[in-house]
Amino acid sequence: MSKFPDDLKYASTHEWVRIDDAVATVGISYHAQDALGDIVFVELPELGTTVNARAEVAVVESVKAASDIYSPLSGKILEINEALADTPEIVNSMPYDNGWFYKMEIDDANALAAELDELMDAEAYADHCAND
């Protein structure tokens, strides 16, 4: 597994986002789960709620600490990863695939372009982690 997959965008607060047409999938990075250690609870947003970019949207509790998760983009919550309720540890083992957090609908293409500009590509994010 790559620690910094090329097809994702990353927030400075260590969330990742994958865009497929008008749907964005959000999770936390390898670096984030490694820093948190064993994850034991993930509190996800309600379906149908609208969230703004950089707003608190979820909470991760590991054995070590609690950490707020910020939405990298604005949009409406379409789907949450139900598997995290019983097997939160998949965030540790598969942060970029089975360990995703939620999917959101993007309806404003102009806003999306501006918000994506605020995010980093894999190379920039790897540098960001090296200096974290």
Binding site: D38, V40, E61, V63, A66
Partner: protein, 362 residues
Amino acid sequence: MAQHTPLFQKHLDAGAKMVDFAGWDMPINYGSQSEAHNRVRSGAGVSYVSHMTVVDISGIDASAYLQYLLANDVAKLDDQGRALYSAMLNEKGGVVDDLIVYRMSFGYRLVVNCATRLKDLAWMAQHSPGFKISIEEQPKLAILAVHGPDAIDKVCEILPADQADAVRSLGNFRGVELDSWFVARTGYTGEKGVELIFPADAAAALWDKILAAGVSPVGLAARDTLRLEAGMNLYGHDMDESVSPLAANMEQTIAWQPQEREFIGRAAISRHKQDQASGGLPHLVGLALEQRGVLREGQKVQSDRGEGVITSGSFSPTLKHSIALARIPVDSQSCQVEIRGTLTPVRIVKPNFVRFGKKVFD
């Protein structure tokens, strides 16, 4: 920069993430904390804990000195190798440190905490005049703690046959001197096992043998969740110099008898006992949160009798929910904890959660 222990490279080889712990480079985790924790509950794990301070006391007044210095009574140690857990109190009845004292062929061996090393040594020296004793720190000794249901078998596989026999026949809280080695059935996990105290130049070879025997390395983080599940205090968190042992679930470690034994802090904690009986001094309890959420040190507790605070809290890998130690008013019947801005009801239980791999509270 933190000091490297003799096992620094061995920890890195085992995949450790290192942290500075009171001036020592110590392993916090070797991969997953929960996996290491579970290995101790179900198999065997080894922790390198040589950052702890070993102090040997000898001389004709060694017993009298320790009977004055410690809240527990070394007169209970009626046989060589026997171990006793005790608080060392100040005159105000606060806890200077908690420690294990062993009776040895030469006198007594104390194992005290790491972060408290300098103040402990100063405290011991300050109270030694008038006693014919020698106080000797042993910085060249290493300590390995091997615990879990398979731990004693694994250690005995490695030791020479006659030493293995001696270790196998040890009862709980008993130890045996084997030349320059000392092996004792003591620990900080709530599982069976031994602590090995031996010359540090043998540490790397022994570490390799123990890992080769199938024992998993256990970092400081898993050690903390293990001791919390076992309801054992951590100095500087569950108690310190401002906290009475009676407010830290240490009443059982105070030897009130014989009444004529004068020990440092006795007068103060006698008053604390009266305060507690009238509700003026809080006590340390266990808390269980059997739903989502994690109790953390420092969170406020609101009980039907007043306010309190969590002194240690974590997710329990064995119980799969959160547990905590909390100092709250005596006679509290119900309480809530403020978790991230929300008051959440929790259950008050005995401060002892897991022993020998099993849940022990109702």
